[in-house]
Subunit: 153 residues, 6 copies
């Protein structure tokens, strides 16, 4: 059997549930994100949609905000996954976490991964906050106030 | 100045707050844990008590249960810190997390660290649960029931 | 919807294909391995069977022996996943890799992870080879000859 | 003995065999790569040429294509070595691996390192493929067709 | 108690000792570095100043040059912390290490982390050396001589 | 050319210099250590002797004690290489480092890898110190005094 020709049905309930979950977490960037992966490897994209998003994130044992904070913790200590950390800080904020909570978890992680990895995570959070402030039209305000905003809850 | 003779005051509010926090999280094993570290390096013990426990874990931005689940996530993906993961699964349970919640976060981490690290974390959770069951006098019951217990919420 | 009560059908073609693949790779230990995981977290077990084994390993783009050597390479450089490395060295041998080939990939990995991780992988391979020799009734022979056997192709 | 003045003979058979192997794997960029390292540390360059390339990659226990796929697997799970992963994806293609095979191994690695590291590897593969397409004069074709090319075997 | 409102006294001997130590190691960039962190998370900045710098680096058990070489070794093998490695290569040079010594430790680390991580560290060292040469007004000299400078002790 | 039949000359100056260096660092266990590796993979053993020991550790740019402290730092932050960390703590002590210096570097590493990895390194140091005390016939003394010994310079 030529399993590499494996036909995955993107109209299936499983795939649709996964895409709905990705859109909830990643917002407008969700479809483009999966599309880019699919252009390289349809198998990778299928597994990405159906496994973590359709299977795991839809389970109600843990609320989505706590899940995302745990993912922020995990990506912070790994140290090398800053593009994905950026996506999940965005997702954490979309799922109801405050900026203070995201920063608190990153700060807590100093104890488990040391300063270098935690500092990189902190600067990644800064990028996310700055981009959101810019998108909110707050970018024109003076730098000092923007810094103050970064600490807003 | 011979800073290696640095006198840290264990009666200080900072140190006492750290020890109280460790006892809250680790229970009866807390004092022995710090004592063993102190026998090797008083500096290490001082930093361990005052920094993560007195400084970080006592901040109220995030509740302790969420903090511990984040730490479980972090230690799961690191893969090499099973003795510390064991301690923090214990701590998560002491801080109000259910067994199901701990297992759910470990399962979620498959997506961020793959199966090997997640499987080792799962088996570490099993050790914790088994030890707690044994301490509760449940160890005498047949294996099948014990397995059922592992899934209890 | 209580997704934590998610009903996965173990009689499905997907699950059965995954279990068949696990048995092919892990041999007699396959069922017990999944059973132990399922006793802790049915979700973890479902994902473990259906994702890497049913989805990935059955695709024919790459032959199974090459896949297993790549997994041995990956687990060698990670350094912390020795129980899983042991399982995949077994699987590589079952899938047609020779002992020499397994040792060659571990030796090659020195260049990508340094000596400590590679040495631990080498010693893990030794454990696998010794256990197989013992199971073959070769354990009674003197140590020197057994060492010679370790190098057999 | 001032061992830092250690005279390594670049005309030796060992060094020449290593350089020949690097050129086979890295192509036209080989000499520049080693030259840049040598400008910083002649010792580093000597070890780089003589150890992995002259010693390991020339051994015939495993064919070069399988070796390179194993290295792609290793660098994928490490997560932090994207510049080197790029070089070895190039090398894998030069040694006879197809694009599909490289993508398959990266996809397989999801199971051993999770999505973040694997996604970064996938995007690194995309960069390599795009650069090769551009060098082949295919860059002028519309984006859709280029995406199709990425999947070509 | 609202511990998140924790009042840390930056005029305290502890904090001042930490800042003095950071300035000694990082030079003119020290204050800006901490300021950027503090704008995001005052707690992170407090811990960063008081713990590694005030507590650890001021202890006289090990001289500062050896400490910095050990930190260079640690950041080299981690592989993902290149911005911090850059800072600590700078710090090592400020604390009396020669360029040769920094390069020697990075080269030694090949044995403990393999070539990819060590190569990235080597290129990070090159960036530091080049920036220092440029700041010294040496940037105008021809490339060949600059390469020679890189090896100067 | 059957490069797998590669004849390495163990009577060569290179190999002999490597073995002499290993014996200097590891003491009486050196020959057994290499023998065990060689029984599995002669190529691995050859590279292990000739590359880090003959090539790197004999260079006089950095003294052996500093090299070993850097290796202790590297293995501490990696977290998974405790058997090798044990060997290099032994080697550091043989090369003139005091117990206090080893403990100081491990303590310093908290800042770069967090508490879990550093705690495991601390406990590995304890094992080394205890074994040396036992070998010195100090094991018969009461536990309290032994703890005091651990801190001796």
């Amino acid at each position: 059997m030529a399993k590499s020709d494996n036909q995955h049905d993107e109209r299936s309930a499983l795939y649709q549930r996964g895409m709905a979950e990705i859109r909830k977490q990643l917002g407008p960037m969700a479809d483009g994100y999966i599309k880019r992966i699919k252009a390289m490897s349809p198998e990778f994209a299928w597994v990405n949609v159906t496994f973590p998003f359709a299977e795991l994130y839809t389970r109600d044992v843990i609320d989505l905000k706590t899940r995302e904070l745990c993912t922020v913790a995990a990506l912070t200590v790994q140290g090398f996954a800053l593009p994905e950390l950026k996506i999940h800080i965005e997702a954490a904020l979309r799922c109801g976490a405050s900026r203070s909570e995201v920063l608190e978890i990153i700060t807590q992680m100093i104890a488990y991964c040391g300063f270098p990895a935690a500092t990189n995570a902190l600067m990644t959070a800064k990028t996310v906050f700055d981009e959101r402030d810019a998108a909110d039209g707050k970018a024109k305000k003076p730098a000092k106030k923007a810094a103050g905003k970064a600490k807003k809850k």
